[in-house]
Every structure is written in structure tokens, then in C-alpha cells.
Amino acid sequence: MDLLAQILVNGTLQGGLYAVMALGLALVWGVLNIVNLAHGAFIMLGGYASWYLYTYAHIDPFLGLPLTAAVMFGLGYGLQRGLLNLVIRAPMFNTLLITFGLEVVLTYLAQLVFSADFRTINPPYAGNSLAWGPVVLPLARLAAFGVAIVLTVGMWLFLLHTRLGRAIRATAQNLVAARLYGVEPRHLYAMTFGLGIALAGAAGTLYGTVSQINPYIGASLTAKSFAISIIGGLENPLGVIVGGLFLGIVESLTTLYIGQTFADVASFGILVLVLIVRPSGLLGKTT
């Protein structure tokens, strides 16, 4: 019983991390209709940014998170404005291909600049834990979970209650509506992509404190992020939390009862099932 409780806690905490990984992907996909295959590569870059901040400037990863997010926002804004805006109206394959190309480029640049060595963001408290009865709560994971919830809820409030947020939501419906808010579409697209990448950067920071970063982690993180955003649905950031928690718990239980090698069968199998049965996500409206 203790074991089951611990496994559920592990899954929940992992799920929080998953949610923040997928948040930016879901935003960009839902609003801009860009399926960003480079999303995981941006998570990787965010991880490196925080690693450098921590290792050379001794800035705690959680304190440095806004800084990393700001840098990543700039990168995302620039990429959308200078590159992705150029192909926004091209056929669908093209946005898929260009983000795949970006993924390749970012991965190789990372390997050239950062080397293939793996990095961990390892502040002294990273390995500490709290005991909650028989259950152990890893501190860094708990903090990452908290940040994930704050970011997701913050995102939700931002989309609901700010002018820019409403303009972004309107864009998701149609482009003309966005103009009614008086926001220039090119700027709006870049802002949205920038926000998505900033969230990816934040996810990278959290990922680096609980796992390890190397230039090649991107692709599998992208795949996971897809699963989460599909399961949760693209309409609402809160759906991503549901998707993340669901996936985290399912993977933990699969590992416990069936075997770790089946964790991917479970998560991607569920993704396919959800797509077939409820294409708008677990929380989404049925059509």
C-alpha cells in the first residue's frame, strides 16, 4: 500500500513536469496552428541557459527561471517574426518540415557549442526530500510541480483577462478577429510563439534540476509533449495539467504493474485512443 501511494505521488509529480513541458506546445499549436517539432529542442536550450546561469553566475535555477524564460522569449519572438511568419500560409507540410529543420539545426548547434557532455543543474538542495508519512516527496520535484501549476494557472488567467491574451485567443478562432483588438498580426504571432518558447525554456530549467540535459533530449520530449497536449486538449491550459497528470500516473502504474519497457506503449497507445475517441482531448467538447 505504501508502495502504491509512493508510486502515485511519483506519477503526480512527474505529471506536473509533463504539464509545463507541453504548455508551450499546446499554446502554439492551438493558436497559431503550428505543430512545433522543435519544441523539445527549445526545452533543451532552456535547460542549458539555466545550467550556464547556475554554473557560472551561481543563480539558483528557480530564481533564474524568469531570466531563462525572458531569453527564450526573445529567441522565440525573433524566430517567428523573422522566419516562421514567412511560411504561415504555406501548405501544412511546410510548417511541419520547417520546425523539423529547426530541430535538427538547434540540436547540432547545441552539440557544437555545448558539446555532447551531459549537464545537470544540481543545487545543494536538489536531492533533498520531505517525508510525508511513509511517502517521500523529493524537494526539487515538488518545487517543479509548484512552478508548473503556477505557470499553467498564470497562463490561463493571462489568456482570459488581458487584452493581449484575449487577442491571442481570438486569433485561435480567426485572424480577422484579432485585428479587432488592434494588435498587428505579425506581432501577435511572434508574441504567441515567444510565449510558447518561454514556457519551453521554463520547462527546460525544471527538467535540468530533476534529470539531465544533453543536446539530444529534444525529440523524445517533443513526442511526450504531443501526447500530453492531445490528451489534455488544446483549448484550455488547464487541460494540459490534466493531460500531464494523467500521463505521469499511467506511466508510473505501468512501470509498477507491467514493466518499465511498456511505459511508452501505454502513453502513446492512450494518445492514439484519445485521438480516435475524443479528438478534442479528455476535457474538450465532444463534437
Partner: protein
């Protein structure tokens, strides 16, 4: 841009050499070909082979090169980056033998690569000496042109299990975790009967996917099953995650041991203090006891390697350097660089090297015992070898909050 520069220089030298050879009949170069992982997910270990090959070849050339039938030949290296892609590496090895016409082959890193690439050497009948693949599968195919200088995977935990029997307090239960690739499955298959024979109770025997990042569930099970000893056969990134997550879940068995990671400087750096107490194994340590014809001894090799490349070599690097020396030795024994003759010489080769005594069994694999090592005070300490304890192990491992 420096690589471009050096390529230009190399080109100039080549022209100079060519014009010089027009006059004095300079002996032909012996070209060794290899395709290793310089980019991609396993580039981190692939670089050991590139650097070791280069260092060994430079060293041998500086000493006059290889003497074949009374004539000195310089060695040259033709190296490709396979981008951690098995298919590409197969094509590159084919290119090396059929187009670049290299004389002999050096191996890639990792068992699955060696498994695929050995088919090329077999097909073209050009011997390959590889120090990157230890899986027993590579040598189970009765291929005649593949020789391996990594100790057999099935015996990786052999010395560790030997040590377990003489530890006080004696450990009772063992958890065995392994990644689902060729090498680690071979390790697990070899380890199981040894554990049984040692009378240890295997409470967990779990396979996990290669590149798994979340070990929380497995760790929680280890804790709940109270395993005294945890043996993990996997890759460095996984083991890094494993140790970090063990700490954050306060899982501290009496002992844990890993097939890879512990000998690598990069691994110890990434974990910092948390690497402490981790057991591992290596078939090689840079000691003066290992005498070498070219470098003097293993310690000198390690020093030169570090001075040149800026990081410590581990057994991968030593094995790679030994591969070059093995080919050189075989050419000298054979008195020829002819692939067929070198192959026959390789089958009988026997000499002392910086890596240890080199000789191949009937399948073409080396037989080297593994030494048990442990991270103590940030450095690797040799704990247990063929002759028993060398140094006292720090055992049992203290709880994470008692360090």
C-alpha cells in the same frame, strides 16, 4: 575554422610528401579506417575512440611507424562520423574498404554498431579490431574478421558478485536492473546464474527501456522490496538519472554498482558529491604495472592523453589505443599489411599493452577480468580484483541524509 586550416596544411604536406617521394622511394602509408560517433546521442563516448586512435597513431609514427618486413611505414587514420546512426556507419565502413581502400579497420563504439559493422569486415574480408562492443552476440556469429578488446559483457558483474560474497555484513537480496539493448541484456544474462550460485536472493529483475529518464517507480520498488544490493546495467545518462533520483527519493541500498559511468570523469563531475560510494567496474586502470612498448606504461598513456585532449581517458580510450597497437603488432608478426595475413596473425597475437595482455579466444574476443572500483573522495579507487580486496570498500553506503 581551425579544422579547415589544418586540412589545408595537411593538404600542403601531402603535396610536399608526394613530391618528396618522387625522389626517395618513401615507404607507403598504412591506412587504418574507422567510423565512430562524433555527433548524436552517444558522441559522448564516441570521442574516446577518435582521440585514442589518433593519439596511438601519432605516438607510433613518432617512434618510426610500423616495421613490416624490414621497412618502416607510417600509419594514417581515415575517420568518419556516423552521427550515431547504425545504417550510416555500415555505409561508411563499406566506403572505407571499397573506395578509400584502407588497409585495416578499427571499430566503432557500442555493441549494436559493432554487430552491424562486423558484417562489412566479414563481407570484404578485412579484419576489424574493435574496442567498443562487448556484447557476446558480436562474437557468437563465428565471424572470422572481427576481434574485440572489451571484456565479455556476460562477465561484467563477475568480480562484483565475487566481492559480495566476502562483504560484512553479508548482503542478502539483490535487485538487477538492465537496459533493453544488446550489451546490457548480455550483462544481465551473464549475471543471473552468478547471483544464484552466490546464494543471493534476487528480489527484482527488471528490464527498462534504453534512454529512460524516469526511474522513480523502479526506485520506489527497490525501496519497498528492501534490496541490499542494486546492480544496474545501462548507459551513463540513465545511471546519472538513477543516482539523482535515488537521492531525491532517499533510496539508499547497502551497495549499488553500475556497468558504466563510475570510471568516467564526466559522470563523476556531473554528479559531484552524489557520485560518492557508487561502485562500478573497469577492466583497466592507468597504472604503471601495465607496461607498453610505445607509451612506456598505462599511467604515461593517461598523462599524455589528458595533456592532449583535456580530459581523463577511461577503459574505452585504453581499449581504443590498444586496438591500434594490436593491428600494428599483427602487421609486424605477419610481415605484411595484407588483410588476410594480418587476420591470421591477429588470431595468434599475444603481447603486453597499456590496456593489459592482448590475446583473443577462438571467437575473437579478449578475456580480461573486471576490477571492482568505487568512488571514494571524488576519485576512483580500486577495491577488488582477481586477487581479492585491494582496498577496503566503503560499505554499507550511509543513508543520503547521513553523509
Amino acid at each position: 575554422m581551425s579544422s579547415r586550416h589544418s586540412r589545408l596544411l595537411a593538404g600542403l604536406f601531402a603535396i610536399a610528401a608526394a613530391s618528396a617521394s618522387a625522389g626517395a622511394a618513401l615507404a607507403q602509408e598504412v591506412v587504418l579506417g574507422a567510423s565512430v560517433q562524433l555527433t548524436g546521442p552517444v558522441a559522448n563516448t564516441g570521442r574516446y575512440y577518435r582521440d585514442a586512435y589518433q593519439l596511438a597513431i601519432d605516438k607510433i609514427n613518432a617512434a618510426g611507424g610500423v616495421k613490416i618486413a624490414g621497412q618502416s611505414h607510417k600509419l594514417a587514420l581515415k575517420l568518419y562520423d556516423n552521427q550515431s546512426d547504425v545504417n550510416l556507419s555500415v555505409r561508411q565502413y563499406t566506403q572505407l574498404v571499397s573506395q578509400d581502400k584502407v588497409n585495416l579497420l578499427l571499430g566503432p563504439f557500442a555493441s549494436n554498431f559493432a554487430l552491424a559493422d562486423s558484417a562489412v569486415s566479414e563481407k570484404y574480408k578485412v579484419p576489424m579490431v574493435q574496442g567498443g562492443g562487448a556484447s557476446d552476440q558480436i562474437f557468437a556469429r563465428k565471424f572470422k574478421y572481427i576481434f574485440g578488446t572489451l571484456a565479455p559483457a556476460s562477465n561484467y558483474f563477475g568480480s562484483t558478485v565475487g566481492m559480495l560474497k566476502s562483504l560484512k555484513p553479508a548482503p542478502q537480496s539483490v535487485a538487477l536492473l538492465y537496459a533493453d539493448d544488446a550489451f546490457d541484456v548480455s550483462v544481465a544474462e551473464g549475471t543471473r546464474p552468478m547471483l544464484k550460485q552466490a546464494g543471493l536472493n534476487v528480489v527484482m529483475d527488471e528490464r527498462y527501456s534504453t534512454n529512460a529518464t524516469d526511474f522513480n517507480s523502479l526506485l520506489s520498488q527497490i525501496k519497498s522490496k528492501n534490496a541490499d544490493v542494486v546492480l544496474v546495467a545501462g548507459h551513463e545518462t540513465e545511471i546519472l538519472n538513477f543516482v539523482r533520483q535515488a537521492k531525491s527519493l532517499a533510496v539508499a541500498p547497502k551497495l549499488y554498482s553500475f556497468t558504466v559511468g563510475v570510471p568516467s570523469e564526466d559522470f563523476r563531475k556531473a554528479l559531484g558529491k552524489d557520485a560518492e560510494y557508487a561502485f562500478g567496474m573497469t577492466a583497466w586502470l592507468p597504472t604503471t604495472a601495465l607496461k607498453d612498448r610505445w607509451f612506456g606504461d598505462a599511467e604515461k598513456f593517461a598523462k599524455e592523453y589528458k595533456a592532449k585532449f583535456g580530459y581523463d581517458p577511461d577503459y574505452h580510450a585504453a581499449s581504443g589505443a590498444a586496438d591500434v597497437e594490436t593491428l600494428v603488432q599483427a602487421m609486424e608478426d605477419a610481415g605484411s599489411a595484407d588483410p588476410q595475413k594480418v587476420r591470421d596473425a591477429l588470431a595468434k597475437v599475444k603481447f603486453e599493452s597499456l590496456y593489459g595482455p592482448i590475446a583473443f579466444n577462438a571467437q575473437g574476443q579478449i578475456e580480461l577480468p573486471q576490477m571492482v572500483i568505487q568512488v571514494q573522495g571524488g576519485a576512483v579507487a580500486e577495491i577488488y580484483g582477481a586477487k581479492g580486496f585491494v582496498k577496503q570498500p566503503k560499505y554499507p553506503m550511509p543513508a543520503w541524509d547521513a553523509r
